[in-house]
Symmetry: D2
Subunit: 358 residues, 4 copies
C-alpha cells in the first residue's frame, strides 16, 4: 500500500532510476477533463535534471507516454497509466556502492528491510521516483484549474539565505524567471552563488520551499484524522530529503499569545472572512476559504563528492567518495514536486468533500 | 474514513464533549497481549483536566470501560470497543456560542462543511476527542513494551522559554515530576510561571513537545508514500492545535552542509550503527535502529477569556468573551497524546513490516 | 481492518455475545439527515431473538443507545457511536464448550488463529455481531429513502420448500405478515411447519433469502474491482452461515444462450430502459436503473441439540450435545440483516459515485 | 480506488483494449522471491485469445514487460510495474457501436456514469483488462508455491453439460490436456461440440468454473468483514460475466439438515482434521486447513453475431449485429483468471495473517 497516495484521487507509482522506467497509475481522476499534454510535459520539464547550470548535468528527456484513460483528449474516468522511460543511465557509476552503504542514504535500511536492494542510482529510493508525482500533480492541477484553485511554490531559503518576508510581499509570477525558483531576483542570485560555492567544494546544502494554495473553497478536510493540514504534511514528508513541515504561523507561532495569533472573523460582501490569516487557511482541519500556506524543510543532499567513512554490507570499515552527476541542492527542482503533492491532496479532498451531504 | 487512524492496528473514534461520551474501536491489536487496565487508566489520568493548577479546573474522572476484545485479562485479536462517559458537563456555558463563530476555532468551518454543528464545548472538534487516542495509545504501548520499544515525550518549550539542549542532556524520568512535564525542574518552574501569568491575563500560550522513540528495530517504514516519518508527521498533525512537525535536524538542518549533517556508518558488536544521529533514526523513510526523535509545534489555545471581534452565523458583527473553564496552555496535557499517537504509529508499522517477506 | 465495512460510509463494529455489549462506529454518514430513532429500533426488533415461536426463546431487548454524531435529531456528519448492551446471558450454558470445538463452528479456527478464544456464546463469531449491522443498515435506509431507493428482502426458500416464482409475482408488503418473512402466506406456513419439525428433532435447516433494490439510479458501481455486484456479494458473504451469492439469472443462467439472456434496450419517456432484466439491474458492474435483485444461500445452523463427535482443544476424542437456546433456522431473523448490508453498500456506492465528475 | 485489488499484496491495473496497452502495478509482493518469467508468460498464454479453435481467432501475443521491482531475478519488495502492449487491433470493427449501446454490455452504464466512453473494443470494460490479473496472479502463485499452496481451476459446466462429480473424482492434471480445460476428456469433448454449435449460430453460452486451493494453512481470514470466503467471492465477482459464487456445499446445501452438513472433528497425526469437508475449508471465515473449493457462474457472452434490438446514444431505436472476432464461450480462457484471483487473495490474506500476533 505504500506506493499509493490518496483516497479517491490516487496515484500508485513504480520504478527505479536504472530500470526500464518510472511510471504509475492514476485512479479516480474525474471524467471529462480536457488533458493538456503540453502542460503536463512542461511540468515534468520543471523537475528535469540538466535544466540549468545549478542542477545535475544529467540529461534526461523525461517524455511521458500515456497508456490509458484518455480518449479523444479527455479523461474517461478510467485509470490513467503512464510511463517515462529511463535513458542516459550510467549504471557503472554505481558499481562502487554495490556493497557499500552510502551515509545518510537508504542503502542500509533497504538492505536490512528487504534482504536485498537494487543499488544502481539508489533504486527505488532515487529522486527519480518523483517523476510519477509530477505527472499526477499536473493532471490534478488541470482539474483544480476548472475549480479556480491555483497552487504556487517557491524557494524561500537556501542554506542561511532566506527571503525576509512572507509570500504576500512577492510577485510569485517571477518564480520561474531564475534557476533557483525564488521570486526575488536579487536573493535568488545570492542563493545561486551559494549553491555554486557548495558544489565546488563537493558539498551540498539544504533549504526551505514555501507553498501557497489560492482559491480553495471552504469545507475541504475531514476531522479528526483526515485534517487537511495533516494530509498536506503527510504528502510533503513523503518527499525525499524533507525533514519538516509547518503551516500558518508554524513553529514561530509557539511563542505568541492567543490574542496575538487568533484570526477574528468579519463579514464582507463575499461572505465571512478573517481579518488576518495566521491560521494558514485551515481551522479545525478544514479549509476556511483563506489562502493556505505552508513551508517545507529540506536537508542537504546526502551524496557528497567528498571522502566519507562508512562500512560495507559485510561490516568492514571503508571510505566512499561519490562518483557520477549529482545535485548540490535539490530545492530548485523540488518546487514542482511540492506543488504536485499539494495539487493531488487538494483534489483528493475536494472529491472526498462531495460525500459530506447527500 | 476520517475518524479511523492506522492500517493494521487501527483506532476508529467517536464522541463529542457534551454527548453521552467519547470512545472508539481498536482493530488489529495483536492477540494474546496482557491488558494492564491500571496502566491504561494511569495514561488517561495524565491527559485528564483538573490534574494540576496549570490546567483547566474542569473535574473529569475519565474512567474507561472496555466493552469487548479482552477475555480473562488478555487481548483476543477481536476489536476492542471502549467508552469514557462524559460527566461534569456545563452545557449552558456554551449557549452564547450557539450562533456565534469563535475566532480561530472550528465553528465556522464545521458549520459551512456540514450545514450544522453541535456547538456545545466544540462538539467533535473538542480536545476531549483525544481521550480515545490515549486509550489506544496505552494499549499500543503495552504491545511495544514486549518488543523493547519505549516512547517518551516532554514539554521542551512554552512561549519563548525553551530547553537549551536536546533530549540526551536530560533525565527524562523526571518529566512526570512537575506539572509542566519538562525534565528540567528549573526551566519547568519558569514555564509554569509563564503559563500562570498568561492565564491571569485571560490569554493563552503555545509551545513545543519533543518525543523520543527508543528500541525501534531496523526496517519499520514503507517507501515511497508510507515513510515512517511521514506517518509520524501525519499522526502529530492530526492533533488539535498542532501547526508543525520536524524530525532529526528538522528546520535547523536546512542551513547545514551535507558534510556536517550526514551520519556516517561504523561497525559495532551490536551491528552497524551511525556515529551521529542527525537523521533522527529514519533513513529513506525506514527506521535504522537509532533513536527516533521529533518535535511538534502547538499554537496557543484559541479560546480566550478576553473580548474578541467576530460574527454570528447570520453574518452580523458581534464580540465574544469565552465563559467556562479552559486551559491557558495545552502542552502539559498534550504530552501523553503525542506519546499515544507515536505508539499507535510504531505498532502499526511494526505489524505492516511483518509482511515484507514471506 | 476486518471489522470495518465500507469506503465512504463505513461501519466499524465490536462486541461479543457475552461481554458488556455489541456496538460500533458509523463514519461518513451524510450530515443533516433526520434520525428516526423509532424506525431504527423497529429494525433491530426484526432481528431480535424471541420475536416468534420459530426463533430461539432467548429474550433480548436489544435497545440501542446512540453515543455521538446526532444533534437535535439530525446527523452532524461526525461519527455515530452506538451500543446495545448484552442482557439475559446464560454464560454457564457454554461451560461445556470451553475446551471443546463445536463441529462446523469457528471454535477451532479462532483458537488456531489467535491462540485463544472467548468461548462464551461463540464470542465474536456469535450472530449477535449482526446487531451492529442492523443499526448501521437502518441509518443507511433513512438516507436512501430521501433518494427514493428502497430495499426489501424475504425468505424465498427453507430446506426444499421454495417460492416457485421470482419477486415480481409477490406482494412484498406481505413479508412481515408471518413469522417466516415469506410473502406467500401458504408457503410460509409450510416453511414454518418444516422449521418446527426440524427443531423438534434437535436439528437445523438452511434456506435462501432474496433481495430487491428499487429506485437505484444509473451509475452506481466502480469498475474493475469495485463492481456493484461484487460489493453486494462481499457484503452478503460476510454474514455468518452464508455459503453463496448470485444476482440476475445467477447460476441458472449458465445454461442459457446469449440470445436468451441479453436484455435489449428500448427508449421510453423516462429514458433508456431494458425490455427484460435478466442482468439484475447491473451491467459492467454499474447499476443501470432497473431493479437490482440477488439471492443469498444460508447453510443450516451448526449448533445441534444432538450428540456429535468432536475433539477437545488437547486433541482428545469426545462428543458434544449443545445446551442452551438456539435457532433451528436463521432465515426469518436474517432478512433484516440482508437488507441492512444491502443498504450500507448502496449508500456507500452512492457517495462514491459523487466523485466521478468534478 | 476501484482499480486496486488487495490489502497488503495489491494489484492496481490500467488499460483499455484499443489503447497502447494493458498493465499494472503490484505492490506488497514479498522481497526475495525468485521471479520465473517463463512461468508468468505461460500463465498469460493460457488466457490468450487464439490459443485454440474454441476461442476468438484474434491473435494477440500478449508479451509482458516488467518495468521495475525485480533485480537480478528476484523481487526487491518495491512495486512491480508491468505492461502488455496491445497489438492486432481492428478498431474500425467497432465504428458501428460508437453511438449505439450493445445489449447487456457496459456501454450504456459507462456512458451514463462518466458522460463519455472509449467505445473501441469495450474500452476499460473489455476482457483484456484481465491480462493484468493473470500477471499478478502468476506472481502470487510463485510466492504461494514456496508455502506449499497450490490453486487449480477447471471448467465443470458449459451450458447444461456438467461434470457429475466433485473435484475429488477427477485427475486435475488433465485439465490442460484439452481446449475446454475440463479434466474429463469425454465430457470435454461434448462441451467443445456444444461451444462449436453455439458459435455456428452466432450465439454464445455460459458455464461454471470450479476451483480448489490445496495446502492452505489454518488461520487465513479475518472476521467479521474480512472473511476469507467473502474475499474470494468479491474477487470472483469482479471478473466480467460472473453472476454467482458459492463455496463448500453452496446453494445445494440449503436443503440439508445441520446433522447432514456439519463436519465433525477428529484427531490425526497431522493434528485436528474434519471427517468430511462440506464447509469448503473455511469455518467462521477462517481457513481450517482442509481443501478450499468454490464454484463460479458465468453468463453467456453478451456479444452476439446476431441482429439485436437496441437504441443509439440519442435514444433512437436501431438494431445491432456484432462484427469482429469474439468468444462464443469464455470459460476455457477464464480458468487461469479464476486461479489468478484466488492466488492474489490467498497471498494477501497470508500476509495479513502475519499481523495477528506480535
Amino acid at each position: 500500500m505504500s506506493n499509493s497516495f490518496g483516497n479517491i484521487f490516487r496515484l500508485t507509482s513504480f520504478g527505479e532510476s536504472h530500470g526500464p522506467g518510472v511510471g504509475g497509475v492514476i485512479d479516480g481522476f474525474p471524467a471529462g477533463i480536457e488533458v493538456d499534454l503540453d502542460f503536463i510535459q512542461s511540468e515534468l520539464n520543471r523537475r528535469r535534471p540538466g535544466q540549468s547550470k545549478l542542477t545535475t548535468p544529467r540529461k534526461e528527456s523525461d517524455k511521458v507516454e500515456f497508456l490509458s484513460g484518455i480518449f479523444e483528449g479527455r479523461s474517461t474516468g478510467c485509470p490513467i497509466g503512464f510511463l517515462v522511460q529511463n535513458a542516459n543511465q550510467h549504471s557503472t557509476d554505481y558499481d562502487n556502492i554495490r556493497n557499500v552503504y552510502r551515509p545518510s542514504h537508504a542503502d542500509y535500511t533497504y538492505t536490512q528491510k528487504y534482504g536485498l536492494r537494487d543499488h544502481r542510482g539508489g533504486g527505488r529510493s532515487s529522486a527519480r521516483e518523483t517523476i510519477a508525482r509530477c505527472v499526477a500533480g499536473a493532471l490534478a492541477k488541470l482539474a483544480l484549474k476548472q475549480l479556480g484553485i491555483s497552487i504556487t511554490a517557491y524557494t524561500s531559503q537556501v542554506g542561511n539565505i532566506a527571503l525576509p518576508h512572507d509570500y504576500k510581499a512577492y510577485d510569485l509570477t517571477l518564480t520561474e524567471s531564475n534557476d533557483v525558483r525564488c521570486p526575488d531576483a536579487e536573493i535568488a542570485e545570492k542563493m545561486a552563488t551559494l549553491i555554486s560555492e557548495v558544489k565546488a567544494e563537493g558539498d551540498t546544502i539544504g533549504g526551505i520551499i514555501s507553498c501557497i494554495i489560492r482559491g480553495c473553497p471552504v469545507g475541504l478536510g475531514e476531522p479528526a484524522f483526515g485534517k487537511l493540514h495533516a494530509a498536506l504534511g503527510n504528502a510533503m514528508l513523503s518527499i525525499n530529503a524533507v525533514k519538516g513541515f509547518e503551516y500558518g504561523m508554524g513553529f514561530s507561532g509557539v511563542s505568541m499569545r492567543g490574542s496575538e495569533q487568533n484570526d477574528v472573523f468579519y463579514n464582507t460582501e463575499q461572505g465571512v472572512q478573517t481579518r488576518t490569516n495566521r491560521s494558514g487557511g485551515i481551522q479545525g482541519g478544514i479549509s476556511n476559504g483563506e489562502d493556505i500556506y505552508f513551508r517545507v524543510a529540506f536537508k542537504p543532499v546526502a551524496t557528497l563528492l567528498q571522502e566519507q567513512e562508512t562500512v560495507t554490507i559485510d561490516g568492514a570499515s571503508t571510505t566512499l567518495k561519490a562518483r557520477g552527476r549529482h545535485d548540490a541542492c535539490v530545492l530548485p527542482r523540488a518546487v514542482p514536486i511540492i506543488e504536485s503533492m499539494a495539487a493531488m491532496t487538494i483534489l483528493d479532498y475536494y472529491l472526498l468533500n462531495k460525500a459530506t451531504r447527500l
